[in-house]
């Protein structure tokens, strides 16, 4: 066992990259849940985004086109969920599961021809002297653009939800859809748009995995990231900045665990590899029990279907 091989600066830098996919998926799902819809299909949308983004990026040799295509793929998947749950009033839990099961199969089918290929590289940004700063430079200022984009999306969602008319309508729909309907807001339209935003974010998160983080396509490569993103929304108590914090904490655990594996820590690899899931469960327990629960403030109409009478 050799702890000296673990470099804290490298670890901190890798943490942001490890956190970005789940952060993207979580911030999308946060908006969906704020609108009163629980989409359990995050895993399916992520892996669809991963494969679609990969395929397009490899074909066009452009990772950004891949990212865009992944957003489209994720949004298309979420549209299916939206039609099922909003127009056809299907159960949200079952529909979300269906999305995940379908997405895993669909991505395996599409991805067959792409195993073992490397995607086009995404350039790291260079902020001039900032990137050359010792310690802070490599940790904060030498990442790919998507890392910064994800932070910008969090900031945007936070601002939009709290300080704009649209954000308030969305929250009203999520808290009490009957009241929102009585006020004349289009509940289903708002929810459909929120669902598609969530899908696009999850797709982007998936593409980040296959194009930048790994970067490669393998079947089932999201390995529960979508479910962890769902747990992250609970951890964040539906607040955008807390989602960022949670994602980075989680990224830290993942990276540390990988580093311990590489350093030949005495615990078998499999036990280290299960730690992210166990820690996610532990966090869920802490967040949903006792005093912490009162501050949770889940949207009032979460998972309740809306059907306008008359």
């Amino acid at each position: 066992m050799d702890f000296s091989s673990i470099n804290p600066v490298v670890l901190m830098a890798a943490l942001m990259v490890a956190a970005t996919p789940i952060l993207l998926a979580a911030i999308g799902e946060l908006v969906v849940e704020k609108a009163g819809v629980l989409n359990l299909g995050v895993e399916g949308m992520m892996i669809t985004g991963a494969v679609v983004g990969f395929a397009v990026a490899v074909t066009t040799r452009n990772p950004y086109l891949g990212m865009l295509a992944a957003m489209g793929g994720g949004a298309a998947m979420s549209l299916v969920f939206g039609i099922l749950t909003q127009l056809l009033k299907a159960n949200q839990v079952a529909s979300g599961l269906a999305l995940t099961l379908f997405g895993l199969g669909f991505s395996a089918l599409v991805g067959q021809g792409y195993v073992g290929i490397s995607p086009p590289r995404t350039a790291k940004l260079n902020f001039g002297f900032l990137s050359d700063l010792p310690v802070i430079g490599p940790i904060l200022f030498r990442h790919d653009p998507m890392v910064y984009a994800s932070i910008a999306i969090v900031a945007g969602v936070w601002y939009w939800l709290n300080y704009t008319r649209g954000g308030r309508i969305l929250r009203a729909v999520g808290e009490n859809h009957d009241a929102a309907h009585a006020l004349g807001y289009r509940v289903l339209r708002v929810r459909m748009l929120a669902i598609m935003f969530g899908g696009a974010c999850a797709g982007m998160g998936g593409a980040y995995l296959s194009l930048i983080r790994v970067p490669q396509w393998t079947e089932g490569m999201t390995a529960g990231a979508g479910w962890i993103a769902l747990a992250l929304v609970v951890f964040a108590s539906w607040r955008p900045w807390r989602a960022l914090l949670g994602a980075y904490l989680f990224g830290g655990i993942v990276v540390l665990q990988l580093n311990l594996q590489a350093a030949g820590f005495r615990i078998p690899v499999e036990y280290l590899a299960m730690s992210p899931y166990l820690i996610t469960i532990l966090v869920l327990v802490i967040m949903s029990s006792g005093r912490a629960r009162k501050s949770l403030a889940a949207p009032g109409s979460l998972t309740k279907p809306f059907h306008a009478a008359g």
Partner: protein, 361 residues
């Protein structure tokens, strides 16, 4: 303009017609998918749904496989259906299946190579216990800390997969296996093997257990107060509380029952068709069983039919893979589509579709 009008009561007719409609729609959409993959859609659909049962060339091998594949699916799905009816979402059956298999295999490997009539029954108990215990984690977290059982049960699947990997290269590895991952062959250990009971039928103890579970569940749901409570808790949670249904007790019972059933399925699989513990032992029965439960309308008899149909798509899918070169993932997509269509057409049983002229506002 189409408008939905809520039915005062779910339609009895559509309740049973929607699964059939969903299967038909899936066949059409699946045919289009196979066409897009460059295969003859009619040949592919026939290969999946007809040839495994009736073709003189393949039926001899395929027919027994039907029960082998349907057994675990039905066993897991009846367990899940009870919880789903009560609004308790155990979606981690895959994990409970793995842990059940590991516990059953542990008993077998412990006694190996001693003979003894009691070994197999002990394995059955261990399997059920393993699945039950694994399901108790989300149950207790839910009742004690109000933690979402959907996320916990699902995350535990990944944990169980890692334990499986650790066991098959670690403690359970066959010491005579030249260092290859995987345990001893349990199906070749007479005291522990889950043999075919009637030659060439695919009937093994797991299938027997599945049918016992179906009958038991049917009686419990339709003839026992517990079934009424399950129904009530699912449809009107508030009313259920007034009627004296203890939610915590129901959660523990439903999760425990479905976990035990999934654990049993895993144990019968590892000692029979799968033969041993290996890294890729689990075959997503735990997830497919969710589709089976919904396709069977959460009704024990419906689940038997749905389980057989789903088993058919597995076997037919393998056949189409061999004969037509259809990718194995295509069958996964096909099964996923089935659940989509099922949820989509379900609207017909709860709503009437009315044609209405929209008034000018």
């Amino acid at each position: 303009m189409l408008r939905l009008e809520k039915r005062p009561q779910p339609s009895k007719f559509w309740n049973w017609a929607t699964p059939v409609l969903a299967v038909v729609l899936t066949m059409i959409a699946g045919g289009l998918l196979f066409m897009a993959l460059g295969k003859d859609p009619f040949a592919a659909i026939k290969m999946i749904f007809w040839d495994p049962l009736f073709s003189p060339q393949f039926a001899a091998y395929s027919r027994p496989q039907l029960l082998v594949k349907a057994g675990p699916l039905i066993l897991i799905a009846v367990g899940l259906a009870v919880g789903f009816r009560a609004g308790i979402w155990n979606i981690g059956a895959e994990g409970q299946y793995i842990i059940g298999a590991l516990c059953g295999a542990a008993v077998a490997l412990w006694f190996w190579p001693a003979p003894g009539w009691y070994i197999f029954p002990l394995m059955v108990l261990a399997g059920a216990f393993g699945g039950w215990a694994w399901a108790m984690i989300p149950a207790i977290l839910k009742t004690r800390f109000n933690t979402n059982e959907i996320l916990v049960s699902l995350l535990l699947v990944y944990v169980a997969e890692k334990i499986l990997a650790a066991m098959s290269v670690g403690r359970m590895r066959n010491p005579d296996g030249a260092g290859f991952p995987g345990s001893r062959n349990i199906s070749q250990y007479p005291a522990a093997s889950n043999q075919e009971l009637i030659a060439n039928t695919g009937m093994h103890w797991g299938v027997v257990a599945a049918f016992i579970a179906v009958i038991f569940t049917y009686i419990m749901l339709h003839r026992h107060i517990l079934g009424f409570q399950v129904q009530l808790a699912g449809q009107a949670p508030r009313a259920a509380r007034f009627a004296g249904v203890a939610p915590a007790r129901l959660i523990v019972l439903c999760l425990g029952f479905s976990g035990a059933m999934a654990g049993l399925a895993g144990m019968f699989e590892v000692s029979g068709p799968a033969r041993m513990i290996s890294i890729d032992f689990n075959s997503y029965y735990g997830f497919t069983a969710i589709i089976v439960a919904f396709l069977g309308r959460l009704h024990p008899v419906g689940i038997v039919l749905a389980g057989l149909l789903m088993a058919l798509t597995y076997i037919g899918g393998e056949l189409a893979q061999f004969m037509l070169g259809l990718p194995s993932a295509a069958i996964q997509v096909f099964q996923g589509m089935l659940l989509f269509f099922l949820l989509a057409v379900d609207v017909l049983s709860n709503y009437r579709i009315r044609l209405s002229v929209r008034e000018a506002v």
